[in-house]
Symmetry: C2
Subunit: 491 residues, 2 copies
């Protein structure tokens, strides 16, 4: 069968783009940099949303919704935020169209100019803290543990489906606390939620750590991150959780009366993951045949394909298949019986392989005679004939096995591609030759960090939470360092 | 206890606004016409979303996501759409801010002007049909049954929380079909889904019917609607389903090869409900004490309040209450035990009444002695002492009873406020004196419809699907009419 995807070895970037398009996940739209998320891609995103939303609620959060637009002046209120945040954004200046007096179309009505322009939210700290001002008077009003599912817009010049788009979908948590300690704990808790989601659901191992000052979110005192390693040896920042201190509270004058009757500024966090996770999911597991999905996030976990020549064969196979569908559904497994007679089995096999359905069952006349079924697993591309008797329990176990196997495979890849290096020349060489994560000593200065970035395009992805204390010397300057930090080139 | 709400008789509009604010459902934001949906309001909306989404999926639909922005030129492509659709919308003209050289803030970078302006979607037919063009070649690609959950913006001048806001949340279904019949059937199916949701879940009776040509969606050949009656005698359009014919397919040149190999234009529908349903829900059931929620959509269905003086009393009550919480949760009932010691029981009673929690249980020391619990229902504001033994089954039945009772109450109100009138002067009089729905004969012309609207502000809400054939004369012109249509003043 002709390959529909460019191979990863030929061009990883092209393979990724081919895959996103061919597996019907997303496509570019007529609007510069904005994507259409197609039903199959959206079904995966919905599963991710549902799991994350449950996790947020289990940790005490509630959802709310804040305006899409932010008055321009709000951006100037928090100095670090306005300086640090990219100024590429969508700006609403007018509020009415009118019929073109010279033609058939419509034009912007110049009389309908806004007094103050609105920015389409690139993130919502400012509008939310402006709102919290009215919600918070006393310590009794705290904490506020709110999350928002929303679309946001950042006018990116170079876009890639899911990984970097002008509009993307995300969730942004914005919490308010009476103490610094509680806010820091929240920042850590939510990073833990993200790491747990990435590893347990996406089957994607991540390194948890602190961003350096250079790489922090604009307005944050501390940014925590989870970093995943893609198959091309580049890192992908997959979720961030920010300790914002009292910066936004001070900018928007949000204070509360504490238990002692004293007025204090409120402590803040924010944290988010986006449709970028779709890119991470795709790149972590997929192969040259198409998508590989972790069973826990696959919209269809099992597909059953009948193999037949005559209609009477089909009807016998369908009887067995439909019983199997019922039994699998009872176990909470999502299953599709594809008896569409417009497509041949070979076409269907390739299609479900491309779409990453974890388990494919095929049933033919010989299986009926022998009481068997052919079981193919997507992750290893292996097939096995199994007895029909007791098959549902085996499939349930197989799905768990696939979930574990692809995590292990990704973890093994990461282990093999995490290198301790002490020499800067060796670092540069290995970056090009091997790629992956590098654990190196660094002197803790922004200057050195920037030099490394300028020399190599590698950045400090994070200072890992679990980095052991280890005396060493910065690989560039030779100055003392007390632990290794994580370097990589990144998306 | 002091009333926190303006009474309905004093000012229905003020009562509504008070209620939305005081029950923590939503509030106005700093952005003109845009609301903040607060966590309690959003929790109700989430419940509505989940139920509707399940219903859409049961009827074969899938979700997808299309861009927030629409190129201005797209609006000119479908002539009726551009003429009929309000031109008040948010227009993006620039894509970059820069630091103000004269000050501390930011200004719009005049160099970053878009070649073609983007409109923030007021509805997505144009961008979606522009996308479908690439998805559809053959009859095998049809039908496309896609829904989108999204935010949309219409620059309304006079806004009211949930009922009319510049930005609102909604779902918009956009389907593509190979035949006219199939598209019409889809339009009807989805109206049925909306009616079912309104009546079975929101406990809100609705009239299903056709809009007149004047009131149709811009670009639609037929608009179906569900119309509900509010307690002030005004109608609220609660959901619409449009048969769009081949208009959008022709505007965006979307064709398919049919089974006979001939090329045809595709048939379309669109259908939507929005956060406006929150307004309908609030106004249908609530009273001067606050919100009344149908149990099926209440975020908290049962609240338990301990009545105690001493800590040891509380600990005994808590033992009973927590057992009750576990039992109720096992039955799938959402329950909150409010043992917050910062608030008195009286405060809690008023709070949960205001927030419309359907059932409130109170347990005091005497209840412990007697093995009883005080059960208060929100809809009738009645209380009863019941034995603790077997209480969970009774509460489950009570929740069903409340759901049915508030539907019946709303239906009775509507029946009492639906009047057949044959005389125009009487019609005008009753509109002012009694309000509600009016079933009248109409000659079928736009002129008469417009005259009635100009005279009375009443419009034809719909031509009911179940309107019986009945010979009559138009109440204005005396011309013949074959069925009565539904008039009302409306939101
Ligand atoms: Zn201040
Ligand atoms: Zn055409």
């Amino acid at each position: 069968m002709a390959k529909v995807l460019t191979s990863r070895s030929e061009s990883y970037a092209q393979w990724y783009n081919d895959l996103v398009l061919k597996a019907d996940l997303a496509e570019n739209s007529s609007v510069r940099g904005c994507m259409v998320i197609k039903p199959y891609g959206y079904a995966i995103w919905e599963k991710m949303q549902r799991v994350l939303d449950d996790m947020f609620k289990e940790t005490g959060h509630v959802n709310a919704y804040f305006p899409l637009f932010i008055p321009k002046s709000f951006f100037s209120k928090e100095a670090a935020h306005v300086d640090g945040f990219a100024k590429e954004c969508a700006i609403v200046t007018h509020y009415r169209l009118k019929n073109d007096p010279d033609g058939k179309g419509v034009i912007v009505d110049p009389d309908a100019k806004l007094e103050e322009e609105y920015i389409v939210r690139p993130t919502s700290e400012t509008i939310i803290w402006n709102t919290y001002k009215n919600w918070i008077q006393s310590y009794r009003d705290l904490p506020i543990l709110v999350n928002q599912w929303a679309n946001v817009v950042r006018w990116e010049m170079r876009t890639r489906l899911f990984l970097r788009t002008a509009e993307f979908l995300w969730q942004e948590g914005h919490t308010a606390h009476s103490t610094k300690e509680e806010a820091i704990k929240e920042t850590e808790t939510m990073l833990g939620v993200y790491a747990n989601f990435a590893e347990q659901w996406m089957a994607m191992p991540v390194v948890q750590g602190y961003k350096t000052a250079n790489e922090r979110f604009a307005g944050a005192l501390e940014t925590l991150t989870i970093e995943a390693l893609m198959q091309d040896g580049k890192a992908l920042q997959s979720g961030t959780s920010h300790f914002l201190g009292q910066n936004f509270a001070k900018a928007f004058d949000v204070t509360f009366t504490n238990k002692e009757g004293k007025i204090e500024h409120v402590w803040a966090t924010s944290w988010g993951v986006s449709t970028r996770l779709m890119g991470a999911l795709i790149m972590t597991h997929s192969d040259d045949n198409g998508l590989v999905l972790p069973p826990k996030l696959a919209p269809t976990q099992v597909v059953i394909v009948p193999i037949y020549k005559k209609d009477e064969e089909l009807s016998k196979i369908s009887e067995v298949a439909e019983k199997l569908v019922t039994e699998l559904k009872l176990r909470g497994i999502s299953v599709k019986y594809d008896d569409d007679d417009k497509r041949k089995p070979g076409w269907k096999f390739a299609e479900y392989e491309l779409k990453g359905v974890p388990v494919r069952l095929a049933i033919g006349p010989r299986d009926l005679e022998n009481g068997t079924v052919e079981v193919a697993r997507r992750d290893t591309l292996t097939k096995e004939i199994m007895p029909l008797e007791g098959i549902t329990g085996k499939i349930e176990a197989l799905l768990n096995d696939i979930q574990e196997n692809i995590f292990k495979k990704a973890l093994d890849y990461r282990t093999e591609h995490t290198t301790k290096v002490d020499d800067y020349e060796e670092f540069k060489q290995l970056l090009d030759d091997k790629g992956g994560f590098f654990l190196c000593h660094w002197d803790g200065t922004s200057e050195t960090e920037e030099k490394i970035k300028a020399d190599t395009k590698a950045t400090i992805r994070c200072i890992p939470l679990d980095a052991p204390d280890e005396e060493g010397k910065c690989m560039v300057t030779g100055k003392p360092s007390s632990k290794r930090v994580l370097f990589a080139r990144s998306y």
